[in-house]
């Protein structure tokens, strides 16, 4: 069942020098229980979209329905105010109220939320349940200002969950944590949301976070949705060069596409480093100018021609060049190889014996050469 749906949402801000079109024609359907991520560079309109869903921002036009009911419609002029939407939200700054202790922070939605008055005992119970979900058992009486960043994060999450909302909105909740804690919280948050079966809309600019956590990802660019797909397809089947470049490091080669008539998604492309076998969607035409996206980790490095495998059934591309730059990353070795005019980035096994200036052969299967529109 679809829990949340956005239809042609637009949001324009009036600023001193004209207008900012922060969100353009965004349409989305989010299934119940789904972990859905809005991903994009800073300033692309993710937060604004999320704030429109929450009701903190009123869209300029469009329609939003939540749980089957219309909460915003520009055509009918109806708006359900924030405090009547059944939503929990975690803010980037955590927004923990400094003048209250942990219990008061988490109990606030139960005490002052528009739902029916609740007995003291029940509030106590639900706050304690909510706190144990985020592993802060027994911290009720701590002062909010004395918590660490990670703990504030957890209190914010407990507060958002305490009313059992239909929808949980998260705006870059992990971006203020240090790297190690961020990774821990990522796993924990993901596990918690799936366990509770709650529907989540997650905003982030961190592509790794998005790939790891999401059921589906919507990539945004300059206020528009560019691609909605699961992590695998976003990574391996980017619809354009922006998505390919934003999600992970990518090599791009310009070329002219020609479809292989026997095989549906296959073709060849003339590039500056020779003819490449590539895969491409049905929308590409013969002679079209395209970019070929090549992931650094899909390229295999061999030091002699004999070792280049020839796997039948899979068309392999092979090119040769000299190593120009070599960076040891611990868990990987990142090298840049000069092939003709191009510098190709390759991520390989750190145990491989390679050195700068070495002549090497690069092997990449056709599957991993994805044609995207120029």
């Amino acid at each position: 069942m679809i829990l949340l749906s956005l239809r042609l949402i637009n949001k324009t801000f009036i600023v001193e020098r004209g207008e900012v079109h922060a969100v353009c024609d965004v349409s989305l359907d989010i299934e119940e229980g789904e972990f859905f991520t809005l991903l994009g560079p800073s300033g692309c309109g993710k937060s604004t979209t999320l704030r429109c869903i929450a009701g903190l921002e009123t869209p300029t036009s469009g329609e939003i329905s939540l749980g089957g009911g219309l909460v915003y419609s520009s055509a009918r002029g109806s708006v359900v105010p924030v405090y009547q939407r059944d939503i929990g939200m975690v803010f980037q700054s955590y927004a923990i109220w400094p003048h209250m202790n942990v219990f008061e922070n988490v109990a606030y939605p139960l005490k002052y939320g528009s739902s029916n008055r609740m007995k003291k005992e029940e509030i106590r119970q639900r706050v304690s349940d909510s706190l144990s979900l985020v592993h802060l058992e027994g911290m009720e009486n701590r002062s909010a200002t004395l918590l660490s960043g990670g703990q504030q994060q957890r209190v914010a999450l407990a507060r958002a969950l305490v009313r059992n909302p239909k929808l949980l909105l998260l705006d870059e909740p992990l971006s203020n944590l240090d790297a190690k804690l961020r990774e821990e919280m990522r796993t924990e948050l993901c596990e918690l949301v799936h366990r509770l079966g709650i529907t989540a809309v997650y905003v982030t600019h961190d592509q790794l976070e998005a790939l790891v956590m999401s059921d589906r990802i919507a990539v945004m660019h300059e206020g528009r949705l560019v691609q909605i797909a699961n992590s695998h397809d976003i990574y391996n089947r980017p619809v354009n060069a922006f998505v390919a470049g934003f999600i992970g490091a990518t090599n791009f080669l310009d070329g002219r596409f020609k479809r292989d008539s026997n095989k549906g998604t296959c073709g060849v492309t003339e590039t500056p480093i020779g003819t490449l076998f590539c895969s491409a969607g049905a929308e590409f035409n013969d002679g079209q100018v395209v970019k070929i996206a090549l992931r650094p980790e899909t390229i295999q490095v061999e030091d002699s021609k004999d070792k280049v495998p020839s796997s039948p059934g899979k068309t392999m591309n092979v090119f040769e060049g000299d190593i120009e730059i070599l960076d040891f990353h611990g868990d990987s070795l990142v090298i840049r190889v000069r092939v003709g005019e191009e510098l190709i980035q390759v991520k390989t096994d750190p145990d491989q014996q390679l050195h700068v200036g070495q002549h090497v052969y690069l092997v990449v299967s056709q599957d991993h050469c994805q044609a995207v529109p120029f």
Binding site: Y83, H99, Y112, G113, S114
Partner: protein
């Protein structure tokens, strides 16, 4: 001060087109001498069918008009420092606008609120101009009383005694405002 908080909210947060207007209006009051305010109030309230002239209320209204600018500055400045997500988190929690003001904004602004109030209180206490113009015999302000004792009755001793009490109260309150713990508390809230 509550009025000042509302005006601060209007100009800082509400996002209404004319939200800045009351804020500027209060600033204009600073440039108007007390005596002019008093005269203006006399004209307005003697011509209106409101039973205010000659009561304590006209003095209170005059004082509010006069000191709104200052208290408003204090509240706006402090309000700007509250992260708007703190209020939005309350909205999301299902709280009404009023609950958000009462449970979130006011408690966080409390130190500034108290200081502003004390400052205004001290200044109102030593006021002579407004009260002198507006007082009637049976309800006087301390400033007006002192003036009378001195000018009309020549009772310097009694006048001076009141002045000493007044000054010690003001001094005490001023020191209270300047207490470093209060600024500490305000800093902690952020």
């Amino acid at each position: 001060m509550i009025l000042a908080l509302l005006i601060a909210w209007l100009s800082v947060r509400s996002g209404f087109r004319g939200g800045w207007f009351p804020d500027r209006l209060t600033m204009l009051m600073v440039s108007v001498p007390g005596i002019v305010i008093a005269l203006a109030l006399i004209f307005v309230y003697t011509s209106l069918p409101l039973p205010i002239y000659g009561t304590i209320w006209i003095i209170i209204i005059a004082q509010i008009t006069r000191f709104l600018a200052y208290s408003n500055r204090v509240m706006s400045a402090s309000y700007l420092q509250i992260h708007c997500e703190l209020e939005e988190a309350s909205d999301i929690s299902g709280a009404s606008w009023w609950t958000t003001m009462r449970r979130i904004v006011l408690p966080i602004l409390w130190p500034a609120f108290i200081r502003g109030w004390l400052w205004v209180f001290i200044h109102a206490l030593r006021d002579v101009t407004l009260s002198l113009m507006l007082f009637v015999v049976y309800n006087q302000t301390i400033g007006a009383l002192m003036w009378q004792l001195w000018m009309d009755f020549g009772d310097y001793g009694f006048g001076a005694a009141i002045a000493v009490i007044l000054m010690s109260v003001s001094l005490g309150l001023s020191l209270l405002i300047a207490r470093p713990t209060m600024s500490l508390k305000a800093a902690e809230v952020k």
